[in-house]
């Protein structure tokens, strides 16, 4: 572990050394092993073009992630990966790119932003719509501010609740789509966040005439083996670890609205 940075009261960004680094594509994840505790699937949140480090953002929600979040500089984690399907950045080329992130869902989408900024001319307009619970829960705050200052990227941030002094938006992430003019057509949406938030996003995109096959979602299930053998992350006929986590909405539409899948 080269460094750790606290993003919020329960979320930490870890930078691992080059020995942990394998080439990855935005949206893929590694299995991080906290020795003696267990393993968890954690998305890569760093720049896919940076060869020297592996960056992950972890929210402490269970024994494994709590152990990983407690690690300090010089600490050691086991790394397997990368695994999973990436965001289809190539498919979005030449079109508007609409990135919608809720909560820690911004972590697997941050590599998309790095990628889009590095190849800015490949895309038309790029929108980054970010939702969080409160201002204190926002991830990558300084980076968001830097991105907000750019002319070639529209960054809108909202929180579900805020004190009176908060100057930013208050409301749910899908409502940010109101501020985006999608009428020009030719857009692709990448959405990641809690599943119920993604359902609202899909509905809002549908109301705006956004085609289902242009919506890509990063799904989450409990992953164990990460290579499609154990079945822990089965989602209908798919395994999220192998066939996902990024899935095209029209291909999972019938499962997406079914309970307890």
């Amino acid at each position: 572990m080269l460094s750790t940075r606290r993003e919020s009261h329960d979320t930490v960004t870890l930078t691992l050394d080059a020995a942990s680094r394998r080439p990855f594509q935005p949206g893929q994840f590694n299995m991080l092993y906290a020795f003696g505790v267990g393993e968890a699937a954690i998305s890569m949140s760093g720049d896919p073009a940076s060869p020297s480090t592996a960056v992950h953002t972890v929210r402490a929600v269970g024994a494994v992630t709590e152990a990983i979040c407690r690690l300090k500089r010089g600490g050691v984690v086991g790394v397997r990966g990368p695994f999973g399907t990436p965001w289809p950045t190539g498919e979005a080329a030449g079109q508007d790119l609409v990135i919608v992130a809720g909560g820690v869902g911004l972590a697997p989408l941050r590599p998309v932003v790095y990628h889009a900024l590095a190849r800015r001319s490949d895309y038309r307009r790029v929108f980054l719509l970010v939702g969080a619970r409160t201002p204190e829960d926002l991830l990558f705050r300084r980076e968001l501010e830097r991105w907000q200052a750019r002319k070639d990227l529209t960054v809108l941030v909202t929180v579900d609740r805020a004190p009176a002094g908060w100057k930013g938006r208050v409301g749910v992430a899908p409502a940010l789509l109101d501020a985006v003019d999608l009428s020009a057509g030719g857009a692709v949406a990448f959405v990641c966040g809690p599943e119920v938030m993604m359902r609202f996003c899909v509905r809002e995109l549908g109301r705006r005439g956004f085609p289902d096959d242009r919506i890509h979602l990063s799904m989450e299930r409990n992953m164990k083996c990460a290579v499609g053998f154990c079945g822990h992350c089965q989602y209908g006929p798919s395994f999220i670890c192998k066939d996902g986590p990024v899935l095209r909405y029209d291909r999972i539409r019938s499962l997406f609205w079914r309970r307890e899948v």
């Binding site: 929210r59 929600v61 269970g62 992630t65 809720g102 909560g103 820690v104 869902g105 939702g131 969080a132 619970r133 829960d137 909202t158 579900d160 609740r161 805020a162 004190p163 009176a164 908060w166 100057k167 938006r169 208050v170 409301g171 749910v172 899908p174 409502a175 109101d178 501020a179 966040g193 809690p194 119920v196 938030m197 609202f200 989450e220």
Partner: protein, 152 residues
């Protein structure tokens, strides 16, 4: 742009014929609110409908012991203030401009008289108000779910 043009371009007038929209113009007044301006306060007489043209407005609620909380933001294209729909209506929240804001302010008394007198106008306006209220209800439900709490 004058009141008539702004009204015609506002989503509130979507679905209204030019003739119906024109009938609303006499009760509309373009008003500018500087950043920080209180547009109305909880408990005050609800006497206007605000069609936000640009800027952003925070709806706030003072909670004893917790201070003032922002419940929701509204921006260009949104409707602000529907308490006048009910007899003896009083504002149920504070509204404050968090950015310089422009709004078409429609006098509630004049608007109600117009809607009562013209069934077609009344129906079209009701449809729009219901749609916007439903959308905001859906969003309030999502907000209430507190979806980011405990996410992995």
């Amino acid at each position: 742009m004058n009141e008539a043009d702004l009204l015609r371009r506002h989503p509130f007038a979507r679905g209204l014929s030019d003739d119906l929209a024109q009938r609303l113009v006499p009760c509309a007044r373009l008003t500018r609110f500087p950043e920080g301006a209180v547009i109305f306060r909880e408990g005050g007489a609800a006497d206007a409908l605000y069609l936000i043209v640009s800027g952003r407005v925070a709806l706030e609620q003072h909670v004893p012991g917790r201070g003032t909380l922002q419940m929701e933001n509204l921006s260009g294209g949104d409707l602000l203030g529907l308490s006048w729909l009910f007899p003896g209506g009083r504002w149920t929240l504070d509204a404050r401009a968090v950015e310089p804001t422009e709004a078409l302010v429609l006098d509630a008394g004049a608007l109600k008289a117009l809607l009562d007198a013209d069934a077609a106008l009344g129906f079209a306006v009701s449809q729009h108000v219901i749609q916007q209220l439903y959308q905001r209800l859906e969003r309030a439900r999502l907000q209430r779910l507190d979806v980011y709490r405990g996410e992995a």
